[in-house]
């Protein structure tokens, strides 16, 4: 996988705290053996219930960055939620805070979740509501997020940031390298050998 140092594009502001993964991807769309087509069901029930939902607003079609509030992606561990967003076109998320499992799942998929303080998120969301054409540039290496004349400091966990910049964000090959150390660790665990 190539390294990712920045993500640029138009951005979609999505207000609300605790947008859980059941809302991002309702459970009935998990009834499948692949992730194909999940992009069609992102926030489906919220969108049906609210014609003004930002994901219903064609102005934001093609957005690469999603701007959210607190504890985004809480609830179920379903990777179907970040998979759906990614397949819809989202490449990075900026928010006040994220659930840990969601943030980890997204990182593995190559979709960094930046955190920023409340005031910065508010400023970003307000700007994007007023000027949806604004191009946002999120730097993975420095965390700096630029939107027009607005500059915001975003944060990524250091491990995730370095993994992205040095193209190590797909972990399976990393976990399989030096595999003897895994067997060695296993052999020290009493239960692995049956005590």
């Amino acid at each position: 996988m190539a390294s990712i140092t920045a993500i640029s594009g138009r951005a979609l502001p999505l207000r609300g705290n605790e947008l859980d993964t059941d809302r991002i991807m309702p459970a009935r769309f998990l009834k499948a053996v692949t992730f194909d087509g999940l992009e069609h069901h992102v926030f489906e029930d919220d969108r049906k219930g609210n014609p003004n939902h930002p994901f219903n607003n064609a102005t934001y079609n093609g957005s690469a960055i999603l701007v959210v509030n607190e504890n985004f992606g809480c609830g179920s561990s379903r990777e179907h939620a970040p998979q759906g967003l990614l397949r819809w076109g989202i490449k990075a998320i900026v928010g006040e805070s994220f659930s840990e499992i969601f943030r980890g799942n997204s990182a593995v998929l190559g979709m960094p979740c930046f955190t920023a303080d409340k005031a910065s998120i508010e400023a970003l969301q307000a700007l994007l509501e007023k000027a949806p054409d604004t191009v946002v540039d999120a730097r993975v290496d420095t965390g700096v997020i630029t939107a027009g004349s607005l500059k915001v400091q975003g944060n990524l966990p250091a491990g995730v940031r370095d993994a992205f910049v040095t193209d190590k964000w797909n972990p399976t090959s990393m976990l399989l390298a030096d595999y003897d150390t895994v067997h060695a660790t296993a052999s020290t665990l009493p239960y692995v050998a049956g005590f």
Binding site: K31, V33, H80, A186, Y191
Partner: protein, 463 residues
């Protein structure tokens, strides 16, 4: 002075990865049909093997119908998902506890069957593509939910790239009042600390209330750690843990048992362990608790009024600020799930239900967490008590906890539920409404036809 978390983490740390994360060996990997098929496809595509197939166990729980487990399932997608898991397990040599019409096996909710068979043991690292994996921490394991790409990683390498968690000690002290259960304890903790209060933490539960809890009750508490944002929750192993495990199918036997107990004992947090945070809760202040909103922190004691400015939650639920939840007419009552679908939950609810009857407008379901629980409950006659009272007695599975099978709310029905999530649309209808509470409170609501303070009805019994 390390905590159990640190001891277990260090014992399983393989090496520091170039990304700076820790490569952590996974002692037990549990798999279900919803979050695994893509992971198996990925390892197949890359030509990776499964180096430790004997450390992975699988079951089918989310999509199984609970009226009959007869194959093929009527729902063709449910059947396809089950067949895919059977094929994957067969190809890689993984033990599958499959559904079966005779209900004679060990199929059940993944977080119920792990402890039940003694697969879950103290000191293990446990991962599963399911956020409620935190449940297994009740036996002193470090257990956490993972996404499908990580399921792939565990299958391919029996390890994960992880960052360590901080540890918050939560002491609950004192005696719970009659009518107050483990569910009320964890709902209170989440209300107190918030739905994201636990982000970055593992919760270590202790104190006299937790010490006095059965393992089943500790599982209820640990189960919902993730609802408070904590990826893992655990209780230090003690005599209750060992008594629970002794004689279970996958528990160590003979001399190995004694060696296991010695190792497990050594893993408990040291008396002078240091924690990143410490919270103390007085059990006497906990009431039977009910959620009124759309996340599990939005709850009140049943005698309390809602006090909020969250218009979105109030509008969705049809409540008003200042209103009590008690007295809310319910349409559905659901007893089950990995939070409260164990034998002791059913037995406690049955004790309450005996000699009473479900209100005529309520559809009431009891769904055991596993086939083993069904069999034991039936041997105790619990099924008869429930059906005589007007409950439907179903087969094992997740059922109406998330409604990926035919058990769903319709329209904006209100459900009194012993499960763990009251998110919008969680129980299968995009406008359906969920009130979380203990299984005995669900039974009380089913009988009264509305949310009711179980303590008043308990007095009736004892009077």
């Amino acid at each position: 002075m390390p905590t159990l978390f640190e001891k277990v983490w260090n014992a399983h740390a393989v090496r520091t990865l170039p990304s700076g994360q820790t490569q952590l060996f996974v002692g037990l990997h549990l798999v279900h049909e919803v979050t695994s098929p893509q992971a198996f496809d990925m390892i197949r595509q890359h030509g990776w093997g499964v180096p430790y197939p004997q450390r992975t166990f699988a079951t089918v729980d989310h999509i199984v119908p609970t009226s009959s487990q007869k194959r093929p399932f009527l729902d063709v997608i449910a059947e396809e998902m089950t067949t895919a898991l059977e094929r994957n397990c067969q190809q890689y040599g993984i033990q599958l506890f499959a559904p079966g019409d005779d209900l004679a096996g060990n199929q059940g909710i993944v977080h119920v069957i792990g402890p039940e068979m003694g697969l879950t043991q103290p000191g293990m690292t446990i991962a599963c593509g399911d956020s409620h994996t935190s449940t297994h921490g009740a036996l002193g394991a470090i257990a956490f939910g993972i996404g499908t790409s990580q399921v792939r990683d565990v299958l391919a390498s029996q390890s994960l790239a992880m960052d360590p968690l901080k540890v918050r000690r939560i002491d609950v002290n004192g005696t719970l009042k009659p009518g107050v259960y483990a569910k009320d304890v964890i709902l209170t903790i989440i209300r107190r600390l918030g739905v994201n209060g636990g982000v970055g933490y593992a919760y270590e539960y202790g104190g006299t209330t937790i010490d006095n809890m059965s393992i089943d009750e500790r599982m209820t508490v640990c189960n919902m750690s993730v609802e408070g944002g904590a990826r893992a929750g655990y209780v230090n192993p003690d005599e209750k843990t060992f008594a629970y495990l002794k004689g279970r199918q996958y528990a160590p036997q003979g001399d190995a048992w004694d060696r296991a107990v010695a190792w497990w004992t050594s893993l408990a947090s040291d008396a002078d362990a240091t924690y990143d945070d410490h919270v103390v809760i007085d059990a006497a202040t906990i009431e039977p608790t009910v959620t009124w909103g759309i996340n599990p922190a939005q709850s009140v004691g049943v005698s309390e009024a809602i006090a909020t400015k969250d218009e979105e939650a109030l509008t969705y639920m049809g409540f008003a600020d200042g209103q009590k939840v008690a007295g809310t007419r319910i349409d559905v009552a659901f007893i089950g799930s990995c939070t409260n679908g164990r034998l002791s939950d059913l037995a406690e609810a049955a004790k309450f239900v005996q000699g009473r009857h479900v209100a005529s407008h309520v559809k009431a379901l009891v769904v055991p967490g596993s086939q083993e629980i069904s069999r034991k409950a039936e041997a105790m006659g619990l099924d008869k008590i429930f059906t005589a009272a007007g409950f439907e007695w179903r087969g094992a599975g997740c059922s109406m906890c998330l409604a990926m099978n035919p058990d769903k709310l319709v329209g904006n029905q209100i459900s009194a539920s012993s499960s763990n999530r009251n998110f919008k649309g969680r129980q299968g209808s995009p406008t359906g409404r969920t009130l979380l509470m203990s299984p005995v409170m669900v039974a009380a609501a089913a009988i009264a036809g509305e949310v009711t303070d179980v303590r008043e009805m308990l007095e009736e019994v004892h009077a």
